[in-house]
C-alpha cells in the first residue's frame, strides 16, 4: 500500500511538468499581444511596452520563461499577474470559493444521487423509478447554462425566493442554488449509475446467500449491496470532483460567484500566462489527488483489490 501510494505520488511529477508546459505553450501561442492590449483602443507607447515586457519577463525566449516560472514555483512563487498582484493571492481568493461550491455540489450529488439510486434500484419498474428516470433524463438533456438561467429567472426574478446573483460568495445559504445547478448533471448520472448496479447486484449470488443465511435486511442492503454497488459510482465521483471545479465556470458566471472559473476566464482573455498556468496547475493537482483517493477507496470497498 505504502509503495503504491509513493509510486502514484511520483507519477504526479511528470504529469505536473507536462501539463504546465503544455498550458504555458498554449497561452504563449494565443493570438494578440497581451502587453499592447493593456492600452485598449489607444496606441501603445513603445518605451512603456518594452519596460513592461521586461518586467514580466516576456522579452525572454519561451523556454527560459518556462524555466523561470518552474523554478519560481518551487520557491512558492506563482509569479505576478499583469495587474501587479501576486498570482498566489488570486489563487488564494478564488479556490476557497470554488472548492466550497464544488464540495457543496458534490455533497448534494452524493447524498441525493446515491439515495435516489438505491431507492429506484430497489423499486425497479415502480412509479417512483419511472418518475426519477424521466426527471434525470430531462436534467441530462438540458445544458447547464439553460438550467442556471431558468433557476435564476424563476427563483430569483419571478418568485424572488433568492437573490438573482450570489451577494456573498462565501455564504453557504446563497450558494445552494448554484450548487444544485452545478451538481444537477452529475446527480442525474450518479442516480442512474447507482440504480443500474443496485438492480444488477440484487440478483447476485451473494445477495441470495445472505438472504438464505437469514441476515437482517439492513445488513444485506447496507453492507453487502451498498458496498458492492458503489464501486463504479466511486470511480465516477472521483473524476467528477475535478470536473465540478473546472466546470463551475458557467455556473459562476450566471450567479456572479467570484471563483476559479471567472478568474481563469478573465486571465485567458488577457493572455495572462502566469495566472492561467497557476490556476490550471492547482486544478490538475486536485484532479490527481482526488483520483488517487478514489483508487485507494477501491481497496476499502472491494477486498479483492490489493495494491502492492
Amino acid at each position: 500500500m505504502g509503495r503504491y501510494v509513493a509510486r502514484r505520488l511520483l507519477q504526479m511529477i511528470p504529469v505536473f511538468i507536462g501539463t504546465t508546459l503544455l498550458i504555458f505553450l498554449m497561452v504563449y501561442s494565443l493570438p494578440g499581444d497581451p502587453i499592447k492590449a493593456l492600452f485598449g483602443d489607444k496606441a501603445a507607447d513603445p518605451a512603456t511596452v518594452a519596460r513592461l515586457r521586461h518586467q514580466f519577463g516576456l522579452d525572454q525566449p519561451m523556454l527560459t520563461q518556462y524555466w523561470n516560472y518552474l523554478t519560481g514555483l518551487f520557491k512558492g512563487d506563482f509569479g505576478q499577474s499583469f495587474t501587479g498582484r501576486p498570482v498566489a493571492d488570486l489563487i488564494g481568493e478564488a479556490f476557497p470559493v470554488t472548492i466550497r461550491l464544488a464540495l457543496y455540489a458534490f455533497a448534494i450529488e452524493v447524498v441525493i444521487g446515491v439515495a435516489l439510486g438505491m431507492l429506484t434500484g430497489l423499486k425497479r419498474g415502480k412509479f417512483v423509478d419511472q418518475l426519477v428516470l424521466v426527471l434525470t433524463l430531462i436534467v441530462i438533456s438540458v445544458p447547464v447554462f439553460v438550467l442556471g438561467f431558468l433557476a435564476q429567472f424563476f427563483l430569483g426574478l419571478k418568485w424572488q425566493l433568492i437573490t438573482p446573483t450570489v451577494q456573498d460568495s462565501m455564504n453557504l445559504g446563497q450558494l445552494t442554488v448554484p450548487a444544485i445547478v452545478l451538481g444537477a448533471l452529475s446527480l442525474a448520472y450518479v442516480t442512474r449509475l447507482t440504480r443500474t448496479t443496485v438492480a444488477e447486484n440484487l440478483r447476485a449470488d451473494y445477495m441470495r446467500t445472505a438472504l438464505a443465511k437469514g441476515l437482517p435486511k439492513s445488513r444485506r442492503l447496507g453492507v453487502h449491496l451498498m458496498r458492492n454497488s458503489l464501486i463504479p459510482v466511486v470511480t465516477f465521483l472521483g473524476t467528477d470532483l475535478g470536473m465540478l471545479m473546472g466546470g463551475a465556470i458557467v455556473t459562476e458566471g450566471i450567479f456572479n460567484v467570484q471563483g476559479v472559473g471567472n478568474t481563469l476566464y478573465r486571465a485567458i482573455q488577457t493572455s495572462e500566462g502566469p495566472t492561467v498556468v497557476g490556476i490550471v496547475t492547482v486544478l490538475v493537482l486536485i484532479y490527481l489527488v482526488s483520483s488517487l483517493v478514489v483508487d485507494l477507496l477501491y481497496a476499502v470497498l472491494d477486498p479483492r483489490i490489493r495494491y502492492a
Binding site: D33, A43, T48, G156, Q160, P164, T165, N256
Partner: protein, 541 residues
C-alpha cells in the same frame, strides 16, 4: 430534429411571455421620496485591472473608482462644460505657457494639504519611463517629456523641465508647442495630484489609495467583490456629495448584473447587456436611461492597401457610405440604442455641427451606385467588415453589409474575429485588406479629440494609415488658435474635409443604455456615460 427545434422555439416564446408579464407589474418609483443624505448606493462595475494609481489606470473598472477618490484641476459638468475644481485658475496667453493657481484649503483624505508639489511630483512620477505607467503619454505635450521618457533606455532626469513650482499654491507649465485644448486635457486621471504617502510605498497605495476627491476609501478593497467608499467630510469641490458613499460592486457578466438591477440588488448600471436592450425599458419603466454620449462607430479602410490607397477610391467609399440606410438600421436592428451618424463627431461633443458629413452620410442608393462606378468599383467587387465578436457588433455589421449588398451589388460579408485583442493585433500590424470596425469614445468632450487622434498623420489611433497634409495643416492651425471657439471652427473645417477622402465611413453615435433601482433617484449620466455620482440621492428606507 424538426421536433426538437420547434420545442426550443416554444420554450423561447414562453420565456419571452413570462418576462413581459413579470415586468408589467408595479413600476412605482415615487420620484420625491425622503432622501437619506448618508445613504450609500451600489454601482455596477468590474474588478479593476490594475492597482489604483491614477497614472496607470486606463480602463473603466479602476477609472470609476479613481474618478471618485480624486479631483483634478478641472473637470466637466453633466453637460460637458469645463469647470474649475482644485484649480482657482489655469491661465495662458499663448496656449504654450500656463500658470496654475490652486484653491486654498483642499486636503487629501489623510489630512495632508494639496499643494503645487502634489501635482508636479505626481506628474513627474507618472511621466518617468522607469515607472512604465500606461497613461504616461498624456504628459507628452509638456516640455522635457522626451528626456524623462526616452524612446529607449533609462531617463537621465526625474523631472520635466516644463513644470515649475512657484509657491505652495501656484505652478507653471510650459509645453513644447502650443496645444489649444491642453486645459481641457487636464481633467484626465493622469493629471490628478498625489499625496506624499504615495511616493513612499506605491504598491501599498495601489491597494489603499488616498485622494482629494469627494469620496474616500472605506475599509479594504475586497477584490473581485466590491470597493467601498464613503463621503469625505473635508471635500472642498463644487460637487459636494448628496449621498453617503458609493459602493462599486464587481460583476463577471453584464447579464447577472442586470438581473440584480431589476430586483434592486444593484442600484445603478451604466450599460445594460445586449440581451436586455429590447426589454430594459419595459423592465425599468421611467428608471431606464437611453441617451447619447460621446462615442461613435465607423468602418475604416486600410489606406496602406494597394487598391484602397488609390486616390479615386475615395469616390467608392463615398458611394458605399450613401448605400447604408443608417436610420432604418438604427430603428430596426439596433432598437434605438444608437443614433444615425451625420458626421464623425457625436452630438453631445463640443464643436459638433449638424450634417458635417453632408450628403455623403445620407441614404441615396442611386448616387451610391454612380459614385462607386466612377471610382472604378470596389476591388474584386467584394469587401468584408472585420469586427471583434466579443463586443456585440455582429448585428450592425451584418445589417450594414446587407445594405451594401442590396443597394450596390457589392459582395459584402461581415467577418468576425474572436477577440478584441486579435482584431487589434491585425489592425496595428497593418494586415487589413478591407473595411474594419473603428470606434472612438471621447477622452474629453471636444471635437479635436475625435479628429486629431484618428485622422492626423501617424496619430496613435490612426488605424487606417491615413495621411492628408492639408488636414494636418488645418489641425496645426487649430491647435495654435487663441481661443477654443476658433480652434473648434478650424476642426470643423477639418471634419468636413474628411468627406473628400472618406478614409472611414461614419455609422452611428453611441448611447448610454442604463438604469437604476428603486432605492435611488436623481440619477443622471454625463457625456462619458458615467452617472453623476455625487448627485445621486438615496431614498430613506
Amino acid at each position: 430534429m424538426r421536433g426538437a427545434k420547434s420545442a426550443t422555439w416554444v420554450a423561447g416564446a414562453i420565456a419571452v411571455a413570462l418576462t413581459a408579464t413579470a415586468c408589467g407589474g408595479g413600476s412605482s418609483s415615487g420620484n420625491n421620496a425622503a432622501v437619506d443624505p448618508n445613504g450609500t448606493y451600489t454601482y455596477y462595475s468590474t474588478e479593476p485591472q490594475h492597482e489604483l494609481i491614477p497614472t496607470n489606470s486606463n480602463e473603466v473598472g479602476g477609472g470609476y473608482i479613481i474618478k471618485n477618490l480624486f479631483r483634478g484641476l478641472v473637470d466637466f459638468d453633466a453637460k460637458g462644460k469645463l469647470r474649475y475644481q482644485n484649480a482657482e485658475s489655469v491661465e495662458s496667453t499663448d496656449n504654450q505657457h500656463f500658470t496654475v493657481k490652486l484653491k486654498k484649503g483642499w486636503k487629501f483624505h489623510n489630512g495632508e494639504p494639496v499643494t503645487a508639489s502634489s501635482f508636479v511630483d505626481a506628474w513627474n512620477w507618472g511621466a518617468n519611463a522607469k515607472n512604465a505607467q500606461l497613461n504616461s503619454s498624456w504628459f507628452e505635450p509638456i516640455k522635457g517629456y522626451e528626456e524623462i521618457h526616452p524612446k529607449e533606455g533609462d531617463p537621465e532626469t526625474d523631472k520635466m523641465s516644463g513644470l515649475k513650482v512657484v509657491n505652495d499654491n501656484e505652478f507653471t507649465i510650459e509645453l513644447s508647442k502650443p496645444v489649444s485644448t491642453f486645459k481641457e486635457r487636464l481633467f484626465y486621471d493622469a493629471f490628478f495630484p498625489l499625496p506624499k504617502a504615495f511616493f513612499k510605498d506605491t504598491k501599498a497605495f495601489g491597494e489603499h489609495p488616498v485622494g482629494n476627491g469627494p469620496y474616500q476609501q472605506d475599509g479594504n478593497w475586497e477584490h473581485k467583490v466590491q470597493f467601498k467608499t464613503k463621503k469625505f467630510a473635508d471635500y472642498k469641490g463644487v460637487d459636494k456629495p448628496k449621498n453617503g458613499g458609493v459602493i462599486f460592486k464587481f460583476y463577471n457578466t453584464d447579464d447577472s448584473a442586470y438581473n440584480d438591477l431589476v430586483s434592486d440588488k444593484v442600484d445603478i448600471m451604466y450599460k445594460v447587456p445586449n440581451s436586455a436592450t429590447s426589454k430594459f425599458k419595459a423592465d425599468l419603466g421611467d428608471r431606464a436611461v437611453n441617451e447619447p454620449y460621446g462615442g461613435q462607430t465607423t468602418i475604416a479602410f486600410p489606406m496602406y492597401d494597394k487598391e484602397w490607397g488609390k486616390p479615386e477610391k475615395a469616390k467608392v467609399r463615398q458611394g458605399l457610405s450613401m448605400a447604408i440606410d443608417r436610420d432604418t438600421i438604427v430603428k430596426t436592428v439596433l432598437k434605438d440604442a444608437y443614433d444615425a451618424a451625420d458626421g464623425w463627431v457625436p452630438t453631445v461633443v463640443e464643436g459638433y455641427q449638424k450634417d458635417a458629413c453632408g450628403e455623403f452620410c445620407k441614404f441615396n442608393p442611386t448616387k451610391a451606385k454612380q459614385l462607386i462606378k466612377e471610382g472604378g468599383g470596389v476591388p474584386g467587387n467584394k469587401m468584408t467588415i472585420t469586427f471583434n465578436n466579443d463586443g456585440g457588433h455582429r448585428d450592425w455589421a451584418e445589417a450594414v453589409c446587407n445594405d451594401i449588398k442590396q443597394n450596390t451589388g457589392v459582395n459584402c460579408a461581415a467577418q468576425p474575429r474572436p477577440t478584441f485583442q486579435q482584431v487589434r493585433n491585425e489592425i496595428t500590424g497593418k494586415k487589413m485588406d478591407s473595411a474594419f470596425r473603428m470606434a472612438w469614445v471621447q477622452d474629453f468632450p471636444n471635437i479635436s479629440n475625435f479628429i486629431s487622434e484618428q485622422y492626423r498623420t501617424g496619430a496613435g489611433a490612426n488605424d487606417m494609415g491615413f495621411s492628408d497634409p492639408e488636414l494636418d495643416k488645418l489641425m496645426d492651425q487649430a491647435n495654435a488658435a487663441k481661443t477654443i471657439e476658433e480652434s473648434n471652427k478650424l476642426y470643423l473645417q477639418a471634419e468636413k474635409k474628411l468627406t473628400e477622402t472618406m478614409p472611414s465611413i461614419p455609422l452611428f453615435f453611441d448611447h448610454t443604455l442604463g438604469g437604476y433601482s428603486k432605492n435611488v433617484q436623481n440619477v443622471k449620466f454625463d457625456t462619458y456615460r458615467q452617472a453623476i455620482w455625487t448627485d445621486v440621492e438615496v431614498k430613506q428606507k
